[in-house]
Amino acid sequence: MKKLFIILIAACSLCFASCNTMKHTRGELYPKMYEEKPVTLLVMPPINNSNNVEAKELLYTSISLPLAEAGYYVISPHLAMEIFKAESAYDAENFLDQSVGMFGKVFGADAVIFSVIDEWKKIGFGIQTKLKFIIKSTRTNEILFDRTCDLYLNLSDDNNYGGGLVGALANVAVSAINTALTDHIVAARMCNWFVFEDVPQGKYRAEHQQDQETPARDKNIKTSVK
């Protein structure tokens, strides 16, 4: 019985140690999201500074689901791309430091999402990605949400992954690794889920405007997952 208590205490310590990585709250990190209350989000084509040409579409096609699940109306990236092409607005880098007000008028977007791929390559037995995400208001041009994600997706065989969301995402990734392309798709999905894990919840979630006190990870995520 004594041994049992020791094990329970050790498990308890481990769990709370991992919970303590959430030192902030959503309200502290992203107060402007609560002030502006964006409903409609427009995903800009990713800015790709890496050498991986496919990274752009990998990220672009996987970004809307986690945001829709966070309660936002996300304008279909596929449809938006058709309009970007027609309006020659395909290069998001041209708008990163400029006013984005026009996207409010054309699309009815309250905010636009920029993503910058700084690194996306195979290293050792995994994939290293370094991404930056910015949600910018079309009304005020202010940055409402920003986060960097430095994620290494470890594709080696041992199963030593952690708990919480990281563990859950790792479970998603593990054994999904069938082809080189699938590796990259999994990496893109994981990055998006990580980055938007702590986004204040949108209009279609019951927690909308009520999750200011919800614990959140640092703005800059650096992690290795399996």
């Binding site: 019985m1 329970l8 409609t40 096609t61 304008i75 279909s76 596929h78 919480g164 999904a176 798709i185």
Partner: protein
């Protein structure tokens, strides 16, 4: 008794650590081989290959999602009706579907010799539905409805 205590302890511990949110929408079946929802897989395939088979598969996926809304909200996810409508209304889609859809895929829309009229009607209907479900989409959907109605 000991086992029961351990199980109960860990159940409480982990339920408090990782709040799991219910999905708001139905994105199709979860594909264990790809570890993703059907919609994600088929959308990426369509976007990446633009192949006739990817067009047919995505059309059928949209049809399924519109017919079987689910999740906590019980309605079609944002953007899906718009994408579906846009694909149905794209000029090449009826012919691609006629030439490349499997027999099973054709059963979803009926075995027709020309899908033009059906796709046009349903496409406009889907764009309208997007605006009904998500009024905030009207700003960019209205010009699309106008454009396709004039064609």
């Amino acid at each position: 008794m000991k086992k029961l205590l351990v199980v109960a302890f860990f159940a409480v511990l982990f339920s408090s650590c990782g709040p799991k949110k219910a999905m708001l929408y139905n994105w199709g079946n979860y594909k264990s081989t790809e570890k993703a929802y059907d919609y994600e897989v088929l959308m990426y395939d369509y976007y990446h290959t633009q192949s006739p088979s990817s067009v047919c598969a995505l059309l059928c996926q949209y049809a399924y999602m519109v017919k079987h809304p689910g999740g906590a909200r019980g309605i079609v996810p944002p953007g899906i009706c718009a994408e579906y409508g846009y694909l149905l209304l794209s000029p090449d889609t009826p012919q691609i579907f006629l030439d490349h859809a499997t027999k099973q895929q054709k059963e979803i829309f009926g075995d027709l010799s020309d899908y033009g009229a059906l796709f046009r009607e349903r496409g406009l209907e889907m764009l309208q539905k997007e605006m009904e479900l998500y009024p905030e989409s009207a700003v960019f959907i209205t010009p699309l409805v106008k454009k396709f109605s004039q064609q």
